[in-house]
């Protein structure tokens, strides 16, 4: 199986150079398989009465997985369910022992396989934070001294002496996340815990991940959320059937993951998992009013977005969609080619040109255009997801992140009843 490295050496797509950083995690040929008995024996009688060795099915969860991660990297591990990513995480976290191969690590590692595991519902937040800290390898005194910071982040100061069983699920999740980010381990291992809490808390979590991305801390993130991978990770790795299928630029890895995901979809026809997608984006650009290509747009000026695509294979009932994501990776606007414009099919070799004019309400900042193509008019049947077909800057005065719309506002100043006294 060819392992593709999409860039030379450890990728540095976010402008940080990790080549000079020391390696903190090194995995060499890690292999792990589980023997699943066809009939599980869990009672003594069965063991005694089954004279022949029971039949086992060998499940290869990890095959010869090697990689290294350098200090400060935010490293994503993606893969479908059953691809071995959780097993890999558990091997890294010393929960499973690898059958062969070796893992070496520099520094302390704090695994977060599941938020709030090890919390004892009968204990108060105070006791749980201490227990959790000790579990993560802190001394009791250190664990206690962290309590304030943990509760402050979780916004749960007033509930410090409440038993966890009386916490709402939202409060629990906040406490768990807070314990996680306040852990002072050099290496964090995080499995699918991003979407927690209400919107405000999620924003807080996003900020923390941003900070971690730029800090000395090494983070390994296992997730299904390709947005998170592209957004936070410096580098990513795709696991499939226990093997490393791709490693490198998060965008590329995310694209491969999405393709792999729809590989087995029945409607995707013959082998659509070539190196080339069925449809590729040949070019994408912005124009000004005169049709000249531009890379920046002034705030308030209309966006003229154009793309040229080429079909490499026949695609029935294609749909085309584009979204614009802000610097936080949040898709803020988007459009699709209207249904009446869409052809019933595009044939191999045909070129498609899309020109659009979009009213520009975008706040100044950098935006990334993503492209989605589906077949059979079915949005779950992805032909192409390209997370980065173009990026551009909206310049001009204005607060970053805030878009202004024309609004009618009435404003009136009235004397209060207790006005003159």
């Amino acid at each position: 199986m060819a392992v593709e490295t999409t860039q030379d050496g450890p990728a540095t797509p976010r402008g940080r150079d990790f080549d000079a950083e020391p390696v903190v995690i090194e995995a060499r040929g890690v292999t792990k398989s589980f023997r699943l008995p066809v009939n599980k024996i869990s009672s003594l009688k069965e063991q005694i009465t089954t004279f022949s060795r029971p039949d086992y099915r060998e499940l290869h969860a990890l095959r010869d997985v090697s990689f290294e991660i350098r200090r400060g990297e935010f490293f994503g591990i993606v893969g479908r369910n059953g691809s071995g990513k959780s097993t890999l995480l558990k091997v890294l976290a010393s929960i499973y022992a690898a059958d062969s191969g070796r893992v070496r690590m520099a520094g302390r590692l704090a695994p977060f396989i599941e938020l709030g595991v090890g919390f004892n519902p009968e204990l108060t937040a105070r006791e749980n934070v201490e227990l959790n800290g000790v579990m993560m390898g802190l001394e009791r005194r250190q664990a206690r001294s962290r309590l304030g910071a943990v509760l402050e982040f979780a916004e749960l100061e007033e509930f410090v002496d409440m038993k966890l069983k009386n916490y709402s699920s939202g409060m629990l999740v906040r406490l768990a996340f807070s314990v996680m980010i306040q852990s002072d381990a050099e290496i964090l291992l995080i499995d699918e815990v991003l979407a927690v809490g209400d919107a405000a808390f999620q924003q807080k979590c996003a900020d923390v991940f941003h900070e971690m991305r730029d800090s000395e801390r090494t983070v390994i993130l296992v997730t299904h959320d390709m947005g998170a991978v592209e957004h936070y990770c410096h580098r990513a790795m795709l696991l499939h059937d226990g093997e490393v299928r791709a490693m490198g630029d998060p965008g590329e890895v995310a694209r491969k993951y999405l393709r792999l995901n729809f590989e087995s979809a029945p409607s995707s026809g013959d082998d659509s998992l070539g190196e080339v997608a069925d449809v590729v984006v040949e070019d994408a650009w912005l124009e000004d009013e005169n049709g000249e290509r531009v890379t920046n747009v002034e705030k308030g000026r209309d966006l003229h977005f154009c793309a040229e695509l080429e079909a490499k294979r026949d695609v029935e009932g294609p749909t085309f969609g584009f979204t614009f994501a802000n610097p936080d990776g949040v898709e803020v606007i988007g459009f699709g080619v209207p249904l009446e414009e869409l052809p019933d099919r595009v044939s191999a070799g045909q070129r498609i040109q899309i020109r659009s004019k979009i009213e520009n309400r975008l706040a100044p900042g950098r935006y990334v255009v993503r492209c989605w193509i589906h077949r059979n008019r079915n949005i779950s049947d992805i032909v192409l997801y390209s997370p980065h077909v173009l990026d551009f800057v909206v310049f001009g005065k204005g607060e970053a992140g805030v878009a202004f719309f024309e609004t009618e506002v009435e404003f009136e100043l009235k004397e209060g009843e207790a006005g003159e006294r």
Binding site: T5, D8, G9, P10, D19, A20, E21, P22, V23, V24, E26, F34, S42, S43, L44, K45, Q47, R70, R71, K90, V91, L92, A93, S94, I95, Y96, A97, A98, R102, V103, R104, M105, A106, G107, L109, P111, I113, E114, V117, G118, N120, E122, L123, E127, E130, L131, V134, M135, G137, E139, R140
Partner: protein
């Protein structure tokens, strides 16, 4: 990869990750976790009950009261200081019975921790034994009040009580390790053990002194039980200075060897089995 070509600055010292083990993660963390978990479990066991700790004493006292009536009014045992002997034996045997009884299911009950965190596995069964030890410590205070009130004179041999407790404690730990590790593989160990523990209680001179038995095959079997000798020695040291003690009960030092061998073998077996099973526990759950 071309990264190899560039010299990375200051490679950090990489340490081998050896996977899960019985004690993994350093001894300080091990003992802190053991203490924290035992203490919170102990507190938890009384929480929500109106009389809290009282209950842990009431249970052996109830059993004590019933047995006392049966054996002094119905069977009319004639043993010096029998009531306090019975009470003392029940409370000390409680360490073994409750410790192993809780430990056998402990690893299964803590599945979440075992499967989702880096956790020294040994802490789990040991904390069950520690909880039983805390209970015993509190109960012994009450027991000695009874012993003094009954009119037993304190002797210097009372100072040897820790030896007795240590012997019982170590055996309890060993059996707990064995049972908790095996119970992950064979879930019926827990059920078998509830029966076996009861058999063991009657197979140990708890409610009767061993000298009631004529020399027989049965007596030889009982003398092979390490707990028999421990409890007989405790009787001589604590309750009744005129009692024969372990050596003369066994009939000489040499005859103590089978029980001693079983004791040592159980300890070795418990540690060995747990150590062997520990790395695989998470996968088997």
């Amino acid at each position: 990869m071309s990264a190899e070509a560039q010299a990375p600055a200051q490679p950090l010292e990489l340490r081998e990750v050896r996977g899960p083990s019985a004690t993994g993660g350093g001894s300080r963390r091990f003992f802190e976790l053991l203490w924290l978990i035992s203490a919170t479990e102990f507190k938890k066991s009384f929480h929500g009950t109106a009389f809290g700790y009282i209950w842990s004493l009431v249970r052996p006292l109830m059993l004590f009261a019933v047995l006392l009536v049966v054996f002094t009014r119905i069977f009319r045992f004639d043993v010096p200081n029998y009531p306090v002997l019975l009470l003392f034996n029940l409370v000390v045997f409680g360490l073994f019975q409750e410790g192993t009884g809780a430990a056998v299911n402990s690893v299964l009950a803590q599945e979440g921790i075992v499967r989702k965190t880096q956790f020294p596995r040994l802490v789990i069964p040991l904390s069950s034994v520690m909880v039983a030890l805390f209970t015993l410590g509190l109960n012994l205070i009450a027991v000695f009040v009874f012993i003094l009130a009954y009119g037993v004179d304190p002797t210097w041999t009372w100072l040897l009580l820790p030896v007795i407790l240590l012997l019982v404690f170590v055996l309890t730990c060993a059996v707990s390790l064995l049972l908790s590790a095996l119970n992950v593989r064979f879930r019926d160990i827990a059920i078998i053990w509830t029966v076996a523990a009861t058999v063991l209680m009657y197979g140990t001179p708890i409610i009767y002194p061993i000298d009631f038995l004529e020399p027989s095959f049965l007596k030889d079997v009982l003398l092979g039980n390490p707990l028999t000798l421990i409890f007989e020695q405790a009787r001589a040291w604590i309750i009744d200075p005129t009692a024969p003690g372990a050596v003369s009960v066994a009939g000489g030092w040499l005859n103590m060897l089978p029980a001693a061998a079983i004791y040592v073998l159980t300890c070795i077996l418990g540690v060995w089995v747990f150590k062997r099973e520990a790395p695989k526990i998470a996968e088997r759950l």
